[in-house]
Structure formats: C-alpha cells, structure tokens
C-alpha cells in the first residue's frame, strides 16, 4: 500500500471511529456526564452551563488578546420567531441543539451550521393565540438520548436527539383551562426531568413536576401555592380560599447539588401581584398571609419532590418580585459551600446549601419596595405595602431589578457579572377578582406606567456590574442607556460577553470591564449565549431577536430603534476566530 493510500485508509478509519464514538457518546448524556460538565468545556450540557450555574466556559482559544479578530462563522435563521429568539442552545459532541418559538427544535453541525434535523411540536394553535406569555421557549434539557422541552400547551416532550423524532410526550398542565403551559427549560437530575410551570399572575397553584426521563411517566408534582395537601403548613399562610388562585409557579430552570442530592428551584410571585390589603396584609386583602411557597427558593428532593428546606425571600410578595428569576450559583469559599441567588427585586441572597441566609446584598441602586433586608436573617425591613389607590415611583419596575436572564460567575476573577436594571413605575392598586372561566386570565391588581426617570436623579437605564458574589462589592461597572435583557457569558479567556438590547454583542475584559470588541447583530438580544468547541475550534453562539414582555416596554421608554425593531424575527449567530 502506498503511503498516501495508507494515510487515506487511516483517516477514513479514524473518521468512522469518530462517527461511531460521536453516536455512542451523543446518546450517553447521563448523570455522570452532567455532573462533570465543567471538566468538558467543549460541550454546553444544561441551560445554566452546568449544575453550578456559572454560565462560564473553560475555553480560552478566544481570549482578551485575540478577541478583536472574532468574526461571524455561521448563522441560522429561526423560523416563526414571534417575540424573538429567547432560548439557550446546548452542545453535545459538536452538535448544537436549540429551541425556538412555537416549540420548534433544531439540531445543527456546530462547526458549519448545517442543519441535521428540525422538529416542530404539534401545538393547539388556537390555545397559543389566547396566551399572553407565549409563544417563546427559553430552553431545553438533554440526556438519555432525548431533548426535553416543555410545550406551550402544557406537555413535556422528549425528542430523539439523533433523529429529531418524538419519543414521548406527557400532558402535565391543563393549559386549555389554565391558559399557561411551559416556556422555561427543564433540568435533568439523575433519572428525573424537572420542570416548573408558568404561574405568577395566573390564578392557579403553579406546580413543579418530576417526570421519569426514560418513560415520561409523571413521578411527582409539587404545588408552589399552599403545598400539596391540607397538612402542609403552607396552606395556612393563605387567608380563606386565596390559595386556590394564588399564582406561584417555577418558570425558570433551577440548580442541583449532588452532594446533598438537592434540587434548588425558585418560585414565582403570588396573584394578584399587587394586594390592596396594604399594611394590613396579614389579615386582609386578596391573599392574607405569607403566601407560601411563592417568591421562595426551595430545596427539593429530586426523587420524591418533597421539600427539604426553603427560604421565602419576600413573605407576602406585593410587588411581583419573584424568585423564579436568578440562577443558583454554587460557590465555595474558605472550605464552606454557598449558593448565590438574585431576586427580581434587586437583592442578592447568599445561602448555605440548606438555604440558611448567610448574607443579603443590594445590587440595584433604585430600590424602595423595602428600605433594606437584614443581611443576617433575610427579614424585610421597612416594607412598602400599598393599599388600594395611587402610588408613585415604586422601584424597581415590574420587569425587575434583575430580569430572568442569567449572570455569570468567573472562577478566574472570582467575580459575579450581572445585568442590573434601574427603573421604576407609578401604579394604582385596584381590587380585582380572578377570571377563571372559560379560561384563566391574568390577575395583576393594578394599572401601572413605567417611569422614564429614577429617584436617584438619573434616567431609566441598566448596568453590567462585576460583583464580589458574597458581599456585593463592585469591582467595575459598565452603564448601558437601556438594560441589556440577554444572559451574560464569561470565559477562561478573561472575557465577559454582553448581548445588548440594541443588537450589539460586546466583549469586555473580565478583569476591568474595558470593551475589547463589539459586533452589531442587527436586532436586539433577549436570550442565551454560550461557548463551545467543534472540530477543535472554539465558538460563541448567541440568540438574537427582539420582543417579549420586558422588551416590549422599550418602545414606550426609549422609542427608536425599538419602535421599528421587528418582533417576529430571530437567528442564532455563531462567532469564531
């Protein structure tokens, strides 16, 4: 055999072996691989990057020195991108998977962008047309050969990751009656797919589900409003029958600590959002009492769904500052393990792994729904409870001091990077009654208007801040005239990527905040960003496409370019050197 023939044969054999290995490994995303996600930065295996929720990439081919050479490698236009592209890609063995509006799924070659397969969930489109928090999907989970996706009409679907064919689907929420379904990403923990329903302003009881990852059989349900039965002490924290329509839910993916076998999940606010009970909320109003387990962080047993411990961040949340936003950043310092969790109200809670409060710090400047939160106990000090009638300049605005997209922790700098929003609102609290028939409707409890200025004398705005995650001490801060609404990514290459609302993707020096590179993607960002490796090369993938419940406010607040920005387009844009 000639040398060249021999080389070809070896290459062919290697390629065949590589394909075989890829196929074998692709079906082998299991607990072990998920637990070791940080050791394999070529992949991006869960919504939050790993169970540690760092949104950090250990890749450094692209770094602070060469990022100036970053260019678009490929793009994928996402069909039917109503309300933009809000999802988070995952990558396994060089194949990139992501979801789009109307529960579409795509599998693409991570190096070239070539389509491997596309999947469209069969939806009840009449129902979708009646939904307010729809038709976006924010992310997926992967494992056991499946892509797991919650659907707008209340199902959990498992799609074969090799073929793009539906393996099974399980109906979990009666969306035809309750209007809402699922938009958030599931979390795979051992053999359970855990997913939380939408809730909050919807008059229901916001369940979180554990589903068998292989069979699709429902294993457990946990109601975030009032618990599962009358013996649950949470039931007594709702006056009268208010627990039956109390909102709640868990609309974003949580985290997991394998050492204690605990799933951490943040819950949404109670309904109505604004309670006319005012200062007498313990005994009167729409929902007298603490309203457990709304606006709480839960420690759940993933096998049974039982609550092991919890902390209610805002007892009787009267401001729609739920705990569903905020990733569970798993950290270690001085031999002790912590969880850092941001609340929509603009405070960041530091817990031990049993959810005992270790510290609370304020990351947003304009806050007046409370005067402070006791850093030792988590107790709210100086609550601003609003009775029926008009109230001016409540801060933050309903869209949150921290919105639903994620920050990032970089172990190299030891800093936690997060977008903070400075904005406020006027409102008139009104007594409402929940609408349940013929299908549930929003129950807000006020008319409100966003303000263009803030009490500190500034304008409504945002900033990306680099914090000490334990104390909140700011290392650096970059202000943006409009809050970026997308997630952040930090990398081992000393970079922090900020996808902004105008359409610019910025690369900042993680150590100083200095801008090193930027690129205009042509439309605002309101979704995820990851880094991965395919065929030996590092890429950055970012979701582009504007729209959604926070983004729609930008027209009234800032006019152009958002007045003219399309809200029915989306694309995944991928960068490489």
């Amino acid at each position: 055999m000639k040398r060249s023939h021999l080389r070809h044969a070896v290459v062919a054999a290697a390629a065949a072996l590589s394909l075989t290995t890829m196929a074998a490994r692709a079906a082998d995303v299991d607990t072990k691989r998920l637990l070791e996600a940080d050791k394999h930065p070529a992949d991006w295996l869960t919504y939050h990057g790993s169970y540690k929720s760092w949104h950090y990439s250990g890749l450094d081919q692209i770094n602070a020195t060469n990022v100036k050479n970053l260019k678009v490698a490929w793009t994928h236009a996402t069909p039917r991108s109503t309300r933009g592209l809000q999802s988070f890609p995952l990558v396994v063995d060089g194949v990139l998977y992501y979801s789009g509006s109307f529960n579409q799924l795509f599998a693409l070659d991570g190096a070239t962008g070539n389509l491997i397969w596309a999947y469209k969930q069969k939806l009840n489109e009449d129902l979708v047309a009646k939904q307010t928090h729809s038709p976006y999907n924010r992310g997926i989970a992967i494992g056991f050969g499946n892509i797991y996706m919650g659907t707008l009409d209340g199902k959990l679907a498992a799609i074969d990751m090799k073929t793009g064919k539906l393996n099974w689907e399980t109906k979990l929420v009666e969306s035809e009656k309750l209007t809402v379904g699922f938009t958030g990403a599931p979390l795979l923990v051992k053999d359970k797919v855990i997913i939380g329903s939408q809730g909050g302003e919807w008059p229901y009881r916001g369940p979180i589900f554990g589903v068998d990852a292989n069979s699709g059989k429902l294993a457990w349900t946990f109601f975030t409003v009032g618990g599962n039965d009358e013996s649950d002490p949470a039931r007594k924290t709702w006056g009268g029958d208010s627990w039956k329509t109390g909102g709640g839910g868990g609309w974003m993916a949580g985290g997991y600590d394998p050492k204690t076998n605990t799933v951490y999940w943040g819950t949404a606010n109670p309904a109505p959002l604004y309670d006319w009970g005012g200062a007498d909320w313990k005994t009167t109003g729409a929902r007298p009492g603490d309203n457990l387990y709304t606006t709480s962080v839960l420690g759940l047993d993933p096998d049974t769904g039982k609550v092991k411990f919890f902390h209610q961040e805002l007892p009787h949340d009267a401001w729609d500052f739920d705990s569903a936003v905020g990733e569970f950043v798993m950290l270690e310092r001085g031999g002790k393990e912590y969880i850092v969790h941001a609340n929509k109200g603009g405070f960041v809670f530091v817990y031990d792994r049993n959810l005992k409060v270790e510290n609370v710090w304020q990351g947003v400047k304009n806050i007046n729904f409370v005067k402070s939160i006791d850093p030792k106990t988590g107790e709210l000090i100086g609550r601003r409870d609003m009775a029926e009638g008009k109230h001016e300049a409540l801060c933050p605005y309903i869209a949150g001091g921290y919105s639903w997209n994620s920050g990032t922790y970089n172990p190299g700098t030891g800093l936690y990077y997060k977008v903070a929003n400075e904005w406020c609102m006027d409102l008139e609290v009104v007594k409402t009654t929940p609408i349940l028939e013929p299908m549930a409707q929003l129950n807000i409890g006020s008319n409100f208007t966003v303000n263009k200025t803030t009490p500190d004398g500034g304008k409504a705005r945002g900033h990306v801040s680099a914090y000490d995650p334990f104390t909140g001490k700011v290392k650096w801060e970059v202000e943006y005239a409009q809050p970026p609404l997308a997630s952040l990514l930090s990398t081992k290459g000393n970079l922090v990527f900020v996808p902004d609302a105008r359409g610019w993707l910025h690369a900042l020096d993680a150590r100083t905040g200095k801008e090193l590179w930027s690129h205009n993607d042509g439309q605002g960002h309101n979704g995820g960003i990851i880094s991965y490796m395919a065929k030996g090369k590092q890429y950055i993938a970012v979701a582009t496409g504007w729209g959604g419940l926070a983004g729609d406010d930008y027209k009234a607040l800032w006019g152009e370019p958002w007045t003219s920005m399309p809200t029915d387009q989306g694309a995944l844009v991928v960068f490489g050197l």
């Binding site: 109503t82 047309a129 009646k130 939904q131 307010t132 038709p135 009656k177 302003e201 294993a219 457990w220 349900t221 618990g227 599962n228 039965d229 002490p233 949470a234 007594k236 924290t237 709702w238 006056g239 009268g240 029958d241 039956k244 329509t245 009970g277 313990k282 005994t283 729409a286 009492g289 603490d290 049974t304 769904g305 039982k306 609550v307 092991k308 411990f309 919890f310 007892p315 817990y351 959810l355 106990t377 008139e428 009104v430 007594k431 009654t433 929940p434 349940l436 028939e437 013929p438 409707q441 929003l442 129950n443 409890g445 208007t449 729209g547 419940l549 729609d552 406010d553 009234a556 029915d568």
Partner: protein
Amino acid sequence: MQQRLVATLGFVLGIGCCATAVAQISGPMSSGYKPSTAQAQPSTTQAPPVAGKDEKGLDVNKLFAGTCGWCHSNGGRTAGKGPQLMGTTLTDAEIASRIKNGKPGAMPAFGGTFSDDDIKAIIRYIRDLKES
C-alpha cells in the same frame, strides 16, 4: 359568565383532585424563615375568588387592572407594551375584531372569553377614557 360560580367551583375541585392524585408530601422544614401561620385567617374584606361581572355588567376598570393593563398602561391611557387606547382612531368594529382575534405575538385572542356585550362594554370604556 353568569354560571361562573358553579364552573369555578368545579375548576377548583378539579385542581384538588389532581393534587391528591400525586405523591403525598409531608410538611417541609424551613431553615431560614418560619411562617406565621396564625396570621392568615379568612378575611372579611377579601374579594370572592370568582370572576366576572356584577349585576351592572362587566366592570372594565377592574378588567384592565386585572388583565388588559399588563400591556395597556394606566388603564389604557398610556402606551406601554401595547398601544395607548385613549383617543384611538380605530373604529368600533376594528377594536372588536382585535379583542376577539388578537394579534400574534402582541395581543391574545379574547373571543372565547368575552361575549359581544362584554366587548361593547370594553369599547365604551375605551371611548370614555380621559387623562387621569
């Protein structure tokens, strides 16, 4: 909407049935916060957990504060996520069509929720809107 009380009870009971069908869950322990269980007694001022309209018809002000105001700010007087409704140049027929059919990605379809009389009441409310 007149039969909402009965329907709502059925709906709530349905939820209760679902709850009992899943695994029994014992009481949790809170490490960081102890709820005050004595505080939440049934309230005499709490609105009944049923929807709808009183004998005078649909209370559109409440409807906006509950549902529509999510997008139509300040009761429809100010542009928010959705457009300002006060002073709209749309005809009654166009407003009715938008309420019934919605607008993809912007406004849900409420045709199955509101009767023609309800929609007329909503249009009257919009036409009567004044600066607050």
